[in-house]
Symmetry: D2
Subunit: 476 residues, 4 copies
């Protein structure tokens, strides 16, 4: 694959334009930076001249970039308290609606209930590079929200607007290759969240060979910054280990000879877009594009990490009673506590059956408080309509994988004709669709089909931690 033209000059003009704008002048030293920003925000909201609007928006965002952490928090609190709905107008609208719930009254109520910060954010987007700055602003907000739960209301407005702006209809799928501009490739190196890319030579090995592909979603307002990307290996078989795919001395095959496309890494790039979901579109569209380019491809499968497994297993092993583990399993799993067990063939042989069975239970039976599988990656792919296809013992011997999953990896299979059925089964009945070989690992007569409320998932925070760990990889 060899795309050369990357972005049209038309799109470029969007960002170029900003350079010609007059600015408000640089922010000056200011004892009350947040206070002066609030005033500018009020001016922006009342401004009718749109040229001045752009200068104001730029001025506010420039000041934002210069704030320290404390001031950032204060500004967010100001968005919450000062730029909420106009409460007088809201009271009046409620009264009017209660008196006569006419369409007109409803409209007024709906408008009155909209926080003023929504319009403010919309106007801030007029600034050159505004969208990117606002995405960064939300990244800060998400971090602040942990200790300031009231900021949820502010985040809801960001999320609402981003949902419109990053509407799937605006996203552009682009192949990423060794002829992609270096400034974008640099970001691919930086954003890769699953299997680290050591540098430009390793990047080249992941992009240049003809049995490798990479695709990313872009947005017209963030032209040189991908939103999410997936790395793909073209193979003749469903791979069991990541080293099959990434070792330097592997044999490169002709793309036309491949029968299988392996999605071995999916990374979200913009923390500030968390919760704005693109991943499912990405995979389905890449499947379509690859099938058109390479009609011999008939299998589309992932090779995925299992980030929540080790935590869950540790919990089960420590629990007094576990449906998941028999006493024999517990005994066999003790070897996991020995360092370097994976280097000893005998230890490997002894632990494999119990570990694999426990993993099957983890996927098929363990549930979080929402009745969904504990594993965030599983939730993502199963929610997309994929099927859990195979559990791969010692699929990844990197430190991270040993720590998170005792080295396990799994394959999820994307079979286009089953995707909708699988998705429905999962979304409406919480059913985990898995290959027979996986299902057979869990005896039908053992343990509850789904955890009761207050089950292991609810007892401690470990699964939420796992989910957070996974959050760079998958929007939840």
């Amino acid at each position: 694959m060899n795309t050369t033209s990357f972005f049209s000059d038309m799109l470029q003009s969007i960002t170029d334009r900003g350079r010609r704008l007059l600015s408000l002048g640089p922010p000056q030293d200011d004892d009350d930076a947040v206070g002066s920003m609030e005033k500018l925000c009020e001016t922006l909201l009342s401004s009718r001249g749109e040229a001045s609007g752009m200068a104001l928006a730029k001025g506010i965002l420039d000041r934002w970039q210069a704030l320290d952490q404390q001031d950032q928090r204060d500004f967010m609190v100001a968005l919450l308290t000062r730029f909420g709905p106009n409460t007088d107008r809201l009271e009046r609208a409620i009264e009017a609606y209660r008196t006569d719930p006419s369409p007109k009254a409803l409209l007024e109520l709906s408008e009155a209930a909209e926080p003023r910060r929504q319009e403010l954010i919309r106007r801030l987007n007029l600034a050159p590079n505004g969208t990117a700055t606002l995405v960064g602003m939300r990244e800060v907000l998400l971090a602040l929200k942990r200790d300031n739960p009231d900021l949820e209301a502010v985040d809801a407005d960001f999320a609402h607007l981003f949902g419109s702006w990053f509407n799937r209809g605006f996203l552009m799928l682009r192949p990423i290759s060794w002829s992609t501009p270096a400034d974008i490739l640099e970001k691919i190196i930086r954003y890769e969240a699953v299997h680290d890319i050591g540098g430009w030579d390793e990047l080249r090995r992941r992009l240049a060979p003809e049995d490798r592909r990479c695709f990313a979603f872009f947005h017209p307002q963030l032209l040189d910054d991908p939103l999410i990307f997936v790395e793909v290996a073209l193979t003749r078989d469903m791979p069991a280990t990541i080293s099959d795919l990434l070792s330097e001395d592997r044999t490169i095959i002709a793309a036309a000879d491949a029968t299988t496309a392996v999605f071995y890494s999916i990374s979200n790039c913009q923390e500030g877009l968390r919760g704005i979901s693109f991943g499912n579109f990405l995979i389905k569209q890449v499947v379509e594009d690859l099938r058109r380019e390479l009609p011999r491809l008939d299998t589309f499968v992932t090779l995925s990490p299992v980030p929540g497994f080790a935590d869950w297993l540790s919990h089960e092993r420590r629990a007094d009673v576990s449906d998941a583990l028999t006493p024999a399993d517990r005994a066999a799993l003790a070897v996991l506590d020995e360092p370097d067990w994976a280097d000893r063939p005998q230890a490997r042989t002894s632990v494999e059956p119990a570990l694999t069975t426990a993993a099957a239970w983890y996927f098929l039976r363990a549930r979080n408080r929402n009745g969904k599988p504990l594993d965030p990656v599983a939730r993502f792919h199963l929610g997309n309509g994929a099927r859990l296809e195979r559990i791969n013992f010692l699929g990844d011997r990197s430190d991270r994988a040993m720590r998170q999953a005792h080295g396990l990896m799994v394959n999820y299979l994307y079979k286009l004709e089953d995707i909708e059925t699988n998705h429905e089964a999962f979304a409406s009945r919480g059913e985990v669709v898995a290959a027979p070989a996986v299902r057979r690992l869990v005896p039908a007569d053992r343990g509850p089909r789904a955890p009761t409320a207050g089950g292991p998932a609810a007892k401690d925070g470990s699964y939420d931690a796992a989910r957070r760990q996974g959050s760079k990889e998958f929007t939840s």
Copy 2:
């Protein structure tokens, strides 16, 4: 069709994508087309599978395209009544907010008050070509609204979403020239609203000579359809008549010799985007671009129609009392009732002073019920910060101009350094900034500075008619 894309293949991919989607199948003959659409809309709103979401959205929009007028109305009414807010949830939210107006309660109230159709429209946008279809849907809605004022609430949601989607940050300014793709030029011919383009030869005369320019705004989702465009003539003087600019045998000058850029036609293209304002951005950005390309340009001016003048003048002449017209003026203006007065030198000479003075009054003193000038074109340019520079007697002798304005045209001057001041004077104080020569035409001691409420503008609908006539040209 095999297109050689005007726009890069990257953008093209947005629309291509749609072709590969499975459809719901074509809409079938259906006794209750609207009823079945409503069901599909409910399914789309509850759908979690985004692939099925795209197919559903496509299915609904395909059905919409096939509706007759009556069914279109019924569907809009369904949007109003069935897809408003969930009233139970809204009631609960109001209760909770009244009990404790916490940020959380406010957030819930704001979300509960949002009509469900907003999310529905957002999801309909997933369909291939969804944005264009939704813009067309609003065009129908605007027409229906006249007889169904309750639909205003539905329109508010369209306008709200379009405001986000067509955020100025997403617009792309593109020069339109004789090397622009023919399918886009075809639309320029069709959309031209001010001075008709008779065919391809005339279009060529407006685009190809080096002293002609044209610019349009495009949106990434409507790639081959301009939103608004402006035609520009490069000249050595501020022109007084449109034939100076458009006559076939005019002398073409070198672009580098021009000192003046004349905006002689601005046309909005998408009726469905009425009220989503781009024109002011367009002119200011074109001014910037031209200055960079041709540093000798020092004057930026329009040659504009006066669409509301003849109606207003007729009203004043019929009125028993008019501040605007002296008895001598009335007598002089009587010649306007004779057909072909403009062909007779004597008649022209006799009517010119009174007509020009009346026009000055029309611009400087006459006001609509909102305290703004009556003329929609004047409101647009003055609102942008331009100055009324000159009134041109018999500037346009086309049938339309004779009928609407007794042939008058005016120049509005865009002086970058004054734009913000002018805009503020107009926006906050309703002040019409005009050149001294224009101001001098209206004696300071004559008539009220601004009409009282219930003044001529309020008496009949003629000014609204004028505004409507102008609506293809200017967003109000």
Copy 3:
């Protein structure tokens, strides 16, 4: 003019560059324009500074553009006489070579024999837009050559260089569609040589429907000017008449339903590139591209004019003895002399068999002095490896077709797997490959297999005329 470039800005930069060059100043009134050009040419040939070279080249080409016909001839004669080889050097090189035919002596001889004008033309190409001007210069030269056969030597040098510059490796195939820039479409209208395009509406009908295609070859130095183009109709059958393809009310079919691609018009655009052959590449590459886009296409066929037929037939009918025509044929063909015979069903019925048989003879047996078929279009397609597939009585009732071919059209079939064999048969043995149905029309026992020297083709100039007529359509 501000162009929105059809072609990338990279390519545009080639021509832009020229605008920034300093010129020699405009050519002044000059009693001896050609004499001063000769001096400039000598200076250019001796120039070592390449910046001055560009200015000189521009100066010479600017002067060329201003010459009248007589001066153009004089300049060409100067190229012949003054810018031939250096004869002293040539004499010495001949001596040296005769003394010792070493590689070195051969090299010197080869270089000494090269006319100086070759290097001159090469340097003239440095001027902005040089290639286009030189192509135009050769167009003039080709016309002058008719009366000045010595200029053949000058033309040989142009042809030699154009052969290098327009090497097939530099040509770019581009689809032409309704979204192609208007300035290129304008040229398609102008250059169409086979079936006139009446205006933009007719052009739209040939480009916009999904069962229509057009492709052109471009060269990086002539970016907005096609070299040759072909118009294609996608159909379900091999068409017999041009009105099947071009009538306004025909039924448009889905591209995906087509089984047949019909090349119904091929036009060379640059008279100055006559003899530099692109047409055969064009057809083969278009076949490849269409097959990839539309895999259901299985038949690639032309619908072609027969420009030499009427002249030949008239000659045969007037001849005392004709192998081609029996007395019965002659009698039947007499109806052709009646005006409007084609409107009378009976006349059509009576003439069809004799006319079709004569046409088969014309293609299969008649030969020019080089042993090739008389028809220039036949030579082109048969030389490309196509097969003469069908003769279509009254395939084209336009005035031109009635005059040139009594309305006949033919189909040539391009069957990829037979192309090389057919080409070899034609090129080495002069064999015309035709479908059995065509071959059966000519009784095997009638007349000579190929004309003897001095046969009809040599007797008068009519066939050369035919070839000239065809020359805009096909490079010979």
Copy 4:
């Protein structure tokens, strides 16, 4: 600077096209590979079918790629002996010309004297990627020529054709930036011939800062491979040392603040295009482009190596008599023989005057056998019309620079208004234009103005060696 779109898809199509071609099949094991290639070449020359021509050309070039060194030589010898002119035809043409030197006879002589390999090379260019392979073929040929001087005749034909194909009119100047595709940047790293680029981080430092620029010439047939590139630093002063420009901790300035553009590295990329000169065009065009982008730039200057200086100086110091060096100079220069002299302040101080004076002599007085300066870099820039502006003592302390030039660097000044005059002075009178400060270093009364024939330059081969060393940097 931030170009995003790099190459248009139109150009891409040129290379894509090749992938769809049928091949002759892979070359088989062949005892007589060269013999079979010769046969294919004969077939290609006699081929009339251009589709078969492409397959034949591809077959021959594929076989060439597989040849070992010995066979490569044999093939080149075959091109010399077997594919020269047809000697019989040539003899006849000579006879005819001697009998009657008519234009026709001259044309025939010129054509007969053209080696058949010219047409062969032209046809080989039909193969996909043909131009690139032929450029590589000439790279081999240039190496072989050293031991096989007869191959000069073959090289003359390659050079002749490359001169046409790489005509300056076809070259495209492109900025190279950090958003250039990685596969092209990779080549910039590889081809940099003056100041090595250590890896991607260093490349980023040379491209990404806003006071850095890089430009390259590309050719449509070698789209992803630059021909020549220049690296530029934007500064406030003319730099004296390379570390001023390349040190990691230098201060980056705003591009708009720069007054000086420094060309600090020019690298030819294609050894196979040696002698096809682009460098002078490159610099002049980059000067033009930079002036347009940054109007404050008023000084265009190089910081250049002096690759021949140390060799020449060593020769002078060893000579019994030297016009260039006084006995005092010789004594002072003795310190150069001590290792690490440059680290000792006293040594530096003592040697600087003599070394700088010697360098001035080297540039101003020393001449090679052609009467040109000895230094290849000086010949290049002076030949372009630059002026020798300043000699910088210890401008570059890298091993290479210490070895080649005792650390000296020089600045050449490009002053647009003087370029043509300077060039003429240099080209016609061999005059070296230098700044007064440089000229004053050489006493007017000392030594000959220009070396006599057989002077130092002719005595040994060291200057040719210097020129060869410089050959990657400058076409000679």
